[in-house]
Symmetry: C2
Subunit: 268 residues, 2 copies
Amino acid sequence: MGVIHIDHSGDPRVDDFRDLSTADRRPDRPGGRGLVIAEGTVVVSRLLASRYPVRALLGVRRRFDELAGDLAGLEVPQYVTSAEIMAEVVGFHLNRGILAVADRPAPLTVPEVVGGTGPIAVLEGVGDHENLGALFRNAAALGVGGVLLGPGCSDPLYRRSVRVSMGHVLRVPFGHLTDWPGGLDDLRARGFAVAAFTPRPGSIPLSALREHAPGRVALLFGAEGPGLTETALAAADHAVRIPMPAGVDSLNIATAAAVAFYELARGG
Amino acid sequence: MGVIHIDHSGDPRVDDFRDLSTADRRPDRPGGRGLVIAEGTVVVSRLLASRYPVRALLGVRRRFDELAGDLAGLEVPQYVTSAEIMAEVVGFHLNRGILAVADRPAPLTVPEVVGGTGPIAVLEGVGDHENLGALFRNAAALGVGGVLLGPGCSDPLYRRSVRVSMGHVLRVPFGHLTDWPGGLDDLRARGFAVAAFTPRPGSIPLSALREHAPGRVALLFGAEGPGLTETALAAADHAVRIPMPAGVDSLNIATAAAVAFYELARGG
């Protein structure tokens, strides 16, 4: 435990960090999924403050020094090495200089995800890792209490999502709605109004949502392009749109979500 | 003119499309800048409807067919070829299947950029091409009349910005504020209130901006991370923030801008 110097890239103690570009697919691990990987001091700091059980860190001395406050009392190996050896281990040059790996804890249940305050986001078919990560970052910035993933969503703990989220996937509670669209009825039973985002005619403008849904709201978003399925739309209480000029594509999904999160935070 | 079949990648008639990954740096052209390149049917369609003088198109038959309505009466070469020859010309495989190139017209003046309706965005130090492109997409979606680029901004007509903007850099008027921060005084003289986005204490929440600035607003944004310079902040009429919980980074610049654009569009 504590600080360990690594002086060759073949050292098996740093195997958790090896070949990072394929580290998300690990048939040898539960569910075939990889470890949770945090890159850079900001995200590593968030990982250290999260519920995720950290296994080890690997980085250059300067980055460890920057994180000294976060690392105090930490009982896991801190592998210090050179930028060159680090690049050989992970398979490419990392200019962020520090990595941490954590195990995946048990997923949160729906009651755990919705147990806080603020609106929640519910996603259907959001398969793009960057969009998913960006959505978590926006959720953290704009007071969203949790995120529920319906069918067709990618893994928020994928390395790229963690990075784009600035580590907020490790902070904003999330879980899975396995019963679809029945899980939306369950949210309704828990006191949420379900508001589905769609540009279709007849949807109410976002600025009017609070009038229709003064209590807690579950904001339902589909992927950019296809949007929500008919099944999901039919299960919602409200259809909501962000007004746009003619001839403009819909916004990026994470941006549309940010605008919706802002509107609800704005209303208090 | 009209449809021309290309059957080998060395054909000099398609030189405008050659080595596309470096096509933005062209020391042989005015200002060392490349042609404007549109990729995919959506963006090509926007280019064809824009003020940009199109020089030629290169693509596979199917994509030309999809654009038949937009191409009717067009007096420029339409080079039809195979996906393989197209990949050899541009230097990599393009799954969008169609490209168009245009010349850079004379830049718009400030009066031309601000001559429409709605708020305008003014940027300082926004050097990231993807953020810049995303900001234009959000501007188009949320009713922004124009974008002015202060010092340190990258070129919105760079290929990646055009793509990320979904072609909206070709539609939303933009120009340069070469006098900095004097150009902000000029905007004020034109009737704009200048609202600078900054998380610093004392800034007003975004939802209160309309009370302070009921007329046309110039929304001033700096790069993610460093934010606006003191010079720019001192030249603004209002300091505005998007309220966020403690411990959260600022939003991505294009996302913060979308939220601000939405707030102003919301107010009508």
